[in-house]
Symmetry: C2
Subunit: 345 residues, 2 copies
DNA sequence: TTGAAAGCGGTACCAT
DNA sequence: ATGGTACCGCTTTCAA
């Protein structure tokens, strides 16, 4: 690999001038710049990232962090997380545009003890410019990030501070639209397969659902809210429990498309028809929705926007030194074939 | 951040000794090592990655490369590529185990010109230890990788040389099992929705299918081989074309599960039943297969193994300086409900 | 505007 | 086994 020294020699200037030419900020005469650039091109010169990083104490790198102690991508193989693929795609696109590389740091050997501090040390060792965290990170890690001063953006998780903020879909409004749609169709007994309200999307969606109900003067029946865990298995079981309760309902709102499919299977396995007997609404609007039958009515999350805004917010934090306010990306209902008016009964 | 100098001072040894303690290879007395480690722990010391990289000319980083000129994750949002999520997961898991970080380099601004050389320069600038490439990379990039001497493992793409090899499922055998299964059920008129044979999986699967046919003394009808492009839309259209041909067939073999679902939809949209009228076989065995109805008969690809062997092969190349032979990971047929004997007719 | 020189935080070779 | 020291390639004062 050619070094700036080589380029300097060929261009007949000092090594410092080569550095200035590439760092952009400094003033270099047009003539010199041209000479240097020609020499650099001829030698195929690219600045050494490690050397730059060593002296500047930073690198054009954004670290990705994800839920739990598991490696980021472990989770992506769970069908309920196909959603994050879209987000990752958008992150990559926009990070690239800004000239940043995405890094998936190897998880420490012993994820259990002193997680937080160790995690931060590894990030510092890598001199990452910032962190984007998908989903709810473990508390120790989240806390450590908030205190570290490392620019951080949480996606789908709460967390803000001087150098941290979060972006997510407008879950309140998304859930409100979903429930409102059902209400307009005439449903009054609406069940929800819901994740705990301790996680941000769970909290916001519950609030949105209740708001829609309240607007229509309908009281939420707590028996129709069944806890689940984002997994299709959990949703299937929750639906079975719901059916076993013997409480009347004509519609089910799920927390994800994948869960919605599981709900539909649970219903049809019991001889119920969707949407004739029961309406079902999902969340996410995955690409593969177009492949499923019946077409799923669901709340579309704009993964492109999610990723774009996350990168944008992170860059702002890196450059300005302070994090912007939390960001909500609009969500919108997509009506397909899994919802219909409740049976006449 | 604490430096090795700080640790040395606290431990009452020289900075060089601290370095030795951490590099592991050199000989340090037990007593000294203990002192140094205590001091390091107290200071929260972690070696600076950039400094290490600068002096060693390498880094514990594996770069991910993927198809086309697009950013890696662009492709992952296409439903036909959900398969690679599983592979990525396995890659991450095994890279972590070996202490390597995964890097997704930002794509150059102008992906068109001088792609190859520029790509390599960026990798060298980052001093990546090796590259893992998913799917068929653009020719310029692939060629550049092969010539660069950078350890490389291609997944699902041909490519080998002194420092490069490839790993993929045993596509020949997988396709053979699929077709053999259909033959055993009594099918003779077997259609294939197939990607071009210029890509490795396309080539191998075609060979496997023909081998199974040949074993059974069945002649392949070229009219039953319809070209497609891995996408569900392409598969849907291909199926429609197939139906329009007026050529008899009782089974369809697709190149992926997602395509298989599209094939099923195309068939049922024409009033045909699966598997009563037509049997359909997919490839991949995605996690979400368990969520689909009918249950899809498909060829299972072991994504864990794929990722594990890829990392293993790359580490071998990095450490030994020479690449191992190409690796085929066993695939196996999973029989569910989308295949049955052909209609009596 | 440009050149010279001092590090950034490590590694590794040379003595001791 | 340990300490001293010469770099790795670049950024950034400080002078000229």
């Amino acid at each position: 690999m050619a070094t700036s020294e080589d380029v300097a020699r060929l261009a007949g200037v000092s090594q410092a001038t080569v550095s200035r030419t590439f760092s952009g900020s400094a003033r270099v005469s047009e003539a010199t710049r041209a000479k240097v650039e020609a020499a650099a091109l001829a030698l195929g010169y690219v600045p050494d990232a490690a050397a730059q990083s060593l002296v500047t104490s930073t690198s054009k790198t954004i670290a990705l962090n994800a839920f739990g102690n598991e490696a980021l991508l472990s989770l992506l193989s769970r069908p309920d997380l196909y959603f994050y693929i879209g987000v990752l795609r958008a992150l990559q696109t926009h990070a690239t545009l800004a000239g940043y590389d995405l890094l998936m740091p190897s998880t420490p050997d012993r994820p259990d003890q002193s997680d937080g501090a160790d995690y931060i040390r590894r990030l510092r060792s890598r001199k990452v410019a910032g962190v984007i965290s998908l989903g709810a990170p473990p508390d120790a890690r989240k806390q450590a990030l908030l205190e570290s001063g490392i620019p951080t953006v949480f996606i789908d998780a709460a967390g803000s501070g001087p150098t941290a903020t979060h972006v997510s879909s407008d879950n309140v409004d998304g859930a409100r639209q979903a429930v409102r749609h059902l209400l307009e169709l005439g449903h009054r007994r609406i069940a929800r397969i819901a994740v705990p309200e301790t996680v941000l999307p769970g909290h916001d969606r519950a609030a949105g659902a209740r708001a829609a109900l309240a607007e229509a003067g309908v009281m939420e029946d707590p028996r129709l809210v069944i806890r689940s865990d984002w997994t299709p298995e959990g949703a299937y079981d929750a639906t079975t429990i719901l059916l076993g309760l013997g409480v009347e309902f004509t519609a089910v709102v799920a927390e994800s498309d994948i869960e919605a499919f599981a709900v539909i299977h649970a219903l049809t396995d019991q001889g119920l028809r969707v949407p004739e007997d029961v309406s079902v609404i999902g969340f996410d609007d995955l690409d593969l929705c177009t492949l499923m039958r019946p077409g799923l009515t669901t709340v579309h999350q704009d993964v492109q926007q999610l990723g774009a805004r996350a990168v944008e917010a992170l860059l702002h934090t890196i450059e300005q030194g302070s994090a912007p306010d939390p960001i909500a990306v609009p969500a919108r209902l997509v009506v397909r074939d899994s919802t219909a008016p409740p049976p006449a009964s």
